[in-house]
């Protein structure tokens, strides 16, 4: 019988399509990076350019790749306490995932903002969950209310939405927290499918819509992530609104039709490619309750890229907030703040610094972003989360104005290839002194569940436990080539049933909800209930394990913006310096506990905390006991000489 085969294969040999040449001629629809070379030859297989007529359903019992991963005891643990805490929110977001055309349009998959803030100044973190809507509900003016939950200090929350006047009956997405008028009460900005809304905290448990007065309506744009930050250090919080796609709701692109409406050859909702991008907006706070749109003046997002995630951070340690925007299917952007001797505008340096593209110079589908000094070298690094078929980025700041993606070397990237991530948060979940990372995942196309390429609609979160710097590695400036970078271990499957389970997750915020020195998480889920994950890590440590300490810094600006956003904190404990930055907004569509949490390991006392405030003032506080939230008010410390150089780790 083999004869005919050999005739055929022989013929194929003669025509350069033998089995081995097929190796390079056929393009696998895989998530593998190795595809580049193959695709260079035959860029698109039939499956990519048109749907396969007989695409079969996923084999029963087909294992998710994660299922084959050996599960070992996790050093981190989280418990789902959503219902016990009284959180009864349901996130509505466009069409349902069911059916052949489930999640019909692009906006149906992107909701899920969450904010954690202390709206009533009782010292406990409250929760605001942004709700979406549907086309039908929007047109019928039916309200799918967002919700504000007040922390009852006993592990439970109370829905105070109506009382607070925050039902917000629009198709909402992201949320930012900041005291824009420096009155001591945190205000709230929500991005919507059709413009933004600024709610002023009245200081009496209620909020007022001041959008029109403040002139921050985002011109009817579809906003996503949003955040306050004082880029010119004038003491008032400015506002950056990331905008995504310029949609005409009356002429939405039909599902699965056209070359930009497919994924791996599977018909899916269209975009963002093929649709018109929406330009981000930067609003400058005038200090009188109004803002000025400085987008054009400062050259922000001139190409109108598909913005999804953003973060204010001072990446070059010059005392001024720079801005990183994660764009979807377009280059991400890093705006360097030119602030020597005053604010002189931004320059976009994404390509030059290595943050615009993948290591191969390709656009990525950037979603959530967060920043921390994960390697303790005194420079802020960046995590960016991407689409499936790609790996997440961990950009290490080289201290010379550039970044290097060390996702592979730190074991942060490769495992993420089948996952489509949105929310991301750095936090030291076990207080061992090294930042871990939590990534909320969930695909945008429910259609993927009908195939078996290792990607599913609902996906489990990824939990990266930092193993710290390798034994024997010296401190200071680590590098990929020297093997001295901290390495992560992905422990999600063993971090508790709620974490091991699959969700279509979106927003993610971190907070110490119970003021006990452990960082908890709140993750939103598309078309479902959010998940409040109480950190149970420390409670599971045995008596023989050394106690892990912590300290949390609450910064209050006086000359600086009241939130202290942008304040650089340098903590000296156990002879080692650690840095952090005060901020609210990061991750995807979300805003987290603004208190800066440091795990201290077995160190029970902080020698010194130094803060460089946005105002330029630097001051320090000494002899701070561990295991407490410390409120540090600008102007109450010991003045120290201002410095813009980072403090070395050792």
């Amino acid at each position: 019988m083999t004869t005919l085969h050999r005739i055929t294969l022989h013929r194929m040999t003669l025509h350069s399509i033998t089995l081995h040449s097929m190796t390079v001629r056929f393009v696998f629809l895989s998530t593998l990076s190795a595809l580049t070379a193959l695709a260079a030859l035959a860029p698109f297989t039939a499956a990519q350019t048109r749907p396969q007529p007989a695409a079969t359903h996923k084999a029963a019992g087909a294992a998710h790749p994660a299922a084959s991963v050996k599960v070992s005891p996790s050093p981190l643990h989280f418990d789902d306490v959503t219902h016990a805490a009284g959180i009864d929110f349901h996130l509505t977001c466009g069409s349902t995932p069911q059916g052949k055309e489930g999640k019909q349009y692009i906006m149906d998959s992107m909701c899920g903002g969450v904010a954690v803030f202390d709206y009533d100044h009782d010292g406990w973190m409250d929760i605001f969950l942004v709700n979406g809507s549907t086309l039908a509900d929007m047109r019928a003016h039916k309200c799918n209310p967002s919700k504000l939950y007040r922390n009852n200090h006993d592990g439970s929350f109370t829905d105070v939405t109506k009382k607070a006047g925050l039902e917000h009956c629009r198709w909402g997405f992201g949320v930012a927290i900041g005291d824009y008028d420096n009155d001591g009460w945190d205000d709230l900005y929500i991005t919507n499918l059709d413009g933004g809304t600024l709610y002023r905290n009245n200081g009496n448990g209620t909020f007022s819509d001041v959008t029109a007065k403040a002139q921050v309506d985002d011109a009817g744009s579809w906003g996503t992530s949003v955040s306050f930050g004082d880029y010119d250090n004038d003491g008032f919080l400015d506002l950056y609104v990331t905008n995504y796609v310029d949609l005409d709701l009356n002429h939405l692109p039909p599902f699965g039709q056209g070359k930009f409406c497919s994924y791996r050859g599977i018909p899916v909702s269209c975009g963002p490619r093929g649709l018109k991008g929406s330009r981000d907006r930067l609003y400058h706070n005038n200090g009188d309750g109004t803002f000025s749109d400085v987008t054009e003046k400062l050259g922000i997002d001139p190409d109108g890229y598909f913005g999804l995630g953003m973060i204010w951070l001072d990446y070059d340690n010059d005392g001024c907030l720079d801005l990183y925007v994660a764009d979807d299917s377009s280059p991400s952007q890093l705006y360097h703040n030119k602030c020597k001797d005053g604010f002189h505008g931004f320059e976009e340096v994404g390509v030059e610094t290595g943050l615009a593209y993948s290591a191969d110079g390709r656009e990525q589908a950037g979603m959530g972003v967060d920043s921390a000094d994960f390697d303790h070298d005194g420079w802020l690094d960046i995590a960016k989360i991407n689409f499936s078929d790609d790996t997440n980025n961990l950009y290490r700041n080289d201290g010379h104005g550039g970044f290097e993606d060390v996702a592979g070397a730190t074991a942060f990237g490769p495992v993420s290839a089948p996952f489509l991530g949105f929310g991301v948060k750095f936090a030291d979940f076990d207080n061992d002194g090294w930042d871990d990372v939590f990534v909320a995942n969930g695909h945008v196309n429910p259609q993927v569940d009908h195939y078996s390429f290792g990607v599913s609609y609902a996906e489990r979160p990824l939990v990266f436990h930092s193993l710290g710097r390798p034994a024997g590695a010296a401190g200071g400036h680590a590098s990929q080539s020297s093997g001295t970078l901290p390495v992560f271990e992905e422990v999600g499957l063993a971090a508790g049933p709620a974490v091991a389970a699959k969700h279509v997750a979106r927003g993610l915020a971190s907070a110490d909800f119970w003021n006990r020195g452990e960082t908890d998480l709140l993750m939103t889920v598309l078309d479902g209930s959010p998940i409040l994950l109480r950190n149970g890590t420390l409670g599971r440590r045995t008596a023989s394990q050394p106690e892990h300490h912590w300290v949390s810094i609450q910064a209050v600006g006086t000359k600086s913006n009241r939130n202290g956003y942008g304040a650089r904190v340098d903590l000296l404990a156990g002879g080692e310096h650690r840095i952090g930055e005060i901020r609210g907004g990061s991750s995807f569509l979300s805003s987290s506990d603004p208190r800066l949490h440091f795990g201290l390991g077995n160190i029970a006392k902080v020698e010194r905390v130094t803060i460089r405030w946005p105002s330029g003032r630097s001051e320090s506080w000494s002899g701070i006991a561990a295991d407490q939230v410390v409120l540090l008010r600008e102007g109450t410390g010991h003045p120290v000489a201002a410095t813009t150089a980072p403090v070395a780790s050792h």
Binding site: T2, A37, A46, A47, Y263, D360, E363
Partner: protein, 379 residues
């Protein structure tokens, strides 16, 4: 830029084909004619024409053709088969001669002649599955994939028990990038004749291209169980692992492929890429360097080597490798992007800016072709 075809010492289809093809032809001949001869000799039927056939000039010519085909004397075989057709245009020998001629034409790459021969033959004997099968192969050789598909489908209808027919049909469909249909044909072939390592391997490929990676992985594993030394078996398995993000397992398979002596540039290249992705650039470098040695004109291999060298901190070597990548693939923006980064680190700012400018220029020309969302790499 086309990638060059890897060199495989282990694959020798072309050497094995003629002998095997003739063997099959002989088997076919004897399987058909021996019963006839036996029937003639034992039943002693007074059918003169049939009785004559065994000893007729046509039968003798047919035997000569078989022998010539067996000895790879295609010219003599062709003459003998043509003689058969001339001597007995309407008898069973003529049909066999047509098949013989088609074999001759297929092996001598005369696809047009094979198609003409086959087309005439199927008109005369429309119910013969083998004729349709061979005609399908002739069309395949002409790159007339739709016609090949139709003939092979017809052959399969006429003979639903021959595993070879759906196998060949699958090859046609793979070539046509009709992966789902190819998978279906391969499944049929495997149903008829289980344990075909090659069929499992190809079915895995078809699955891989239809978003059924996990099933592809199973097929590759089955292929290796059937034939642990099947060329590219470990390579494919490695590829499936890597496409599921299981790079560590992928590297093991690529290394296994190389250890089996089936080493080819692709295995070295993929192993190097996986190692790079895992952040082990130092170990990736020798693999990628070997890939460039095996296929020195492969711009992608040079690119990956340059990238890995840059990660190890060897900027000068990276610079050289990336320039080779650009030389072989000048329209690819990626090497320019990477080179700009390397040059920046080497303190050659002006050159870095020039490379970034080139990168930006090429970027504008390479618009995304499909898919609504960028993945940072090819899907």
């Amino acid at each position: 830029m086309p990638r060059s075809v890897p060199q495989f010492g282990a694959l020798s289809w072309s050497q094995q084909l003629p002998q095997a093809a003739v063997l099959r032809f002989l088997l076919r001949f004897f399987s058909r004619f021996l019963p006839l001869l036996l029937w003639l000799s034992t039943a002693l039927l007074p059918c003169l024409s049939s009785a004559q056939s065994a000893s007729s000039p046509a039968a003798a010519a047919l035997r000569r053709g078989q022998a010539a085909l067996d000895s790879r004397d295609l010219r003599s075989a062709e003459q003998a088969f043509l003689q058969v057709r001339q001597d007995a245009p309407n008898r069973a020998e003529a049909k066999e001669a047509s098949i013989g001629l088609m074999l001759v034409y297929l092996q001598s790459h005369r696809a047009t002649s094979a198609v003409l021969e086959g087309s005439d033959a199927v008109k005369q004997w429309p119910q013969d599955a083998d004729l349709h099968h061979y005609l399908g192969l002739a069309y395949f050789q002409q790159e007339r994939l739709a016609d090949a598909d139709a003939e092979l489908k017809r052959a399969a209808e006429l003979n639903a028990h021959d595993a070879a027919i759906p196998f060949d049909l699958a090859l046609v469909r793979l070539q046509a990038q009709r992966y789902s249909d190819a998978a279906s044909s391969l499944a049929t072939s495997l149903h008829l004749r289980p344990n075909q390592a090659m069929a499992h391997l190809l079915l895995g490929r078809a699955y891989q291209n239809t978003n059924r990676t996990e099933e592809a992985l199973q097929q590759f594993e089955m292929a290796l169980r059937q034939d642990p030394n099947i060329p590219l078996g470990h390579y494919h398995l490695g590829y499936a692992y890597a496409s599921l993000g299981r790079n560590t397992e992928a590297i093991v398979e690529y290394e296994e492929e190389i250890a089996h002596g089936n080493a080819n540039a692709e295995a070295f290249y993929q192993a190097g890429r996986c190692l790079s992705e895992l952040g082990n650039a130092a170990k990736a470098v020798p693999y990628l360097r070997r890939a460039t040695e095996l296929t020195p004109e492969d711009g992608n291999a040079w690119y990956e080597l340059g990238k890995a060298l840059a990660t190890t901190g060897d900027g000068s070597a990276a610079d050289q490798a990336l320039r080779k990548a650009i030389a072989f693939n000048p329209e690819n923006p990626s090497p320019h992007y990477q080179l700009a980064r390397v040059l920046e680190k080497l303190g050659r700012g002006e050159e870095a800016r020039a490379e970034r400018a080139k990168f930006a220029e090429l970027k504008k020309r390479t618009q995304p072709m499909t898919g609504g969302m960028a993945s940072g790499r090819d899907q």
